[in-house]
């Protein structure tokens, strides 16, 4: 029976929860993965595992993208905005410059986004004009 990446990730989470030695859990999981030819699935498993364990700890990784780099004051303002948009979570913020956005800001978690970029508006305008 083949399991999905998310089933493996959940199993890994359950194992690591009660584990005293995370290193041992990691290495035994890796050798299991190698034996069962799961190496292709590993990146997916790890990605999902990361999300699950963050969520369990009430944490959330969020990247804040702006078209130009933001200074300390701006970052603080953006951080407050992020907390307002993703309330109740301990945010792990990462600031990213993405010139493609033209202007404005967007915030991305692994599966949610708040998009207030100029690029988005331009696109909306474009589709409204095209009909």
């Amino acid at each position: 029976m083949r399991l999905t990446a998310s089933q493996y990730a959940k199993a890994l989470l359950a194992l690591s929860a009660g584990a005293e030695d995370p290193k041992r859990v990691a290495s035994s999981f890796l050798s299991y993965a190698r034996k069962n030819r799961l190496t292709k699935k590993l990146p997916d498993i790890l990605r999902i595992f990361e999300g699950l364990s963050e969520a369990k700890a009430g944490k959330l990784s969020l990247s804040i993208e702006t078209a130009r780099s933001a200074d300390a004051a701006e970052r603080e303002a953006l951080g407050r905005l992020a907390e307002a948009s993703f309330p109740g979570k301990k945010l792990l913020l990462r600031y990213v410059v993405n010139a493609d956005l033209v202007g404005g800001v967007r915030m991305l978690s692994s599966d949610e986004m708040v998009d207030a970029t100029a690029k988005r508006r331009l696109r909306e305008l474009e589709s409204r004009i095209k009909g």
């Binding site: 990730a9 990605r47 998009d115």
Partner: protein
Amino acid sequence: MANTLIDELKRQIADFDHAAKKEKIGRVMETGDGVARLSGLSDVASSEIVEFESGAVGVAQNLEESEVGVMILSGAESVKEGETAKATGRLLSVPVSDAIVGRVVNALGAPLDGRGEIAGERKLMPMEKIAPGVITRESVHEPLQTGIKAIDALIPIGRGQRELIIGDRQTGKTAVAIDTIVNQKGQDVICIYVAIGQKESKVARIIGELAKRGAMDYTVVVSAGASEPAALSFLAPYAGCAIGEYFMEQGKDVLVVYDDLSKHAWAYRQIALILRRPPGREAYPGDVFYVHSRLLERSAKMDRNHGGGSITALPIIETQAGDVSAYIPTNVISITDGQIYLESDLFYKGIRPALNVGLSVSRVGSAAQIKAMKQVAGTLRLDLAQFRELEAFAQFGSDLDEGTKRLIDRGRRAVELLKQPQYAPLVVEEEVAVLYALSRGHLDAVPTEKIREWEEEFLSFLRAEGGDALDAIREKKELSEEVEKVLKGRVEEFNKRFAM
């Protein structure tokens, strides 16, 4: 610069709350071959349209808890790993108006014939749809004449039926379907020919033949060519069915040909392999059965309270070396109401259409046959069955008793009479007339090698001088004593003239 940025941010922050809301996104983990695997998008629906950040558009396919497979329909080149994608809340659909008749479109309903947009007010017909329930259906009872003698007599098809055409490559599968379309001229049936993964040149030839016979006046062609992405081949039959539903909802009768579902299954297998779905039997994904049944379930005869329209489906399956027990053939056989089985051996022997009468069946169509056809078909079936049993003995010709010889001779003539060239469909009264002559022994004196010549001349004679016989069958729909008298008179009159 920092100031302007701050100003801009302040302004943006001011709109932020009401302009930008939180939305679900997915991220491209992997992409290639017109398919992408996305993480996230946990609540996207199957067949929902997904828009990528780069502008590409796709449709959600297989859904697992933490990832989604997306078939990319446009802009596949621009999709990059790591980019975001959003669900749109719209399900994949084809825009259809009455003006789609006569047009050639792709699997998304976009014109391929260079004749501009489809005119008129277009309705969005969903590609995926739940099949009509039993309460709105009615049993099959009106005939769908193929114009092919062997089929209309022995394997009759009714409106709303699903009849599989199955056989090896180059056995005349497409020809049966195309002749059936050609025969719908003037029958108030909208035809939809779905070409799945076929060479573009082959499809162009078919369209040319249909147009030459005036059949494009009531036909729509949906084509997903062999050189196009597998996703389009996968979607083409659903598009064809959705177009059919548009007309069925208007109470019309529709015929849809899926040519062919073997290539459809290959396209699905290819997509599934790229999406890394665990392969099942013959490497097809486990739900390929469901994929086909979901499609064919949508063929139906609606009852009067639901407009009375119908969709008749002629799916085609290509077998390898006549093996009907392979995975895909068995699946489709089990979800259709019968099959027209074409055989290479017969085809090469010159028996065309290469119909294997013993293995072909129609489970619901006889309810739709007119009585006159039932009257001549009964004896024909018997003649052929006896002939098959005795054929082996025929090699010892001289040792046979008279009775056996007569049966064999009758059988040989029946086989000969059931041959029919392409693009020469007959109306039902003509079919009845020639089969009547056979069944009542009027051909016993005609040499086997002259049967086809006899038929051709007899039909010309009826059309020119024997209209009363044809009219009588058409109007009475049964061989009553008086109809039979007229018909018999015409056959005897002709036989006197025919140079045996």
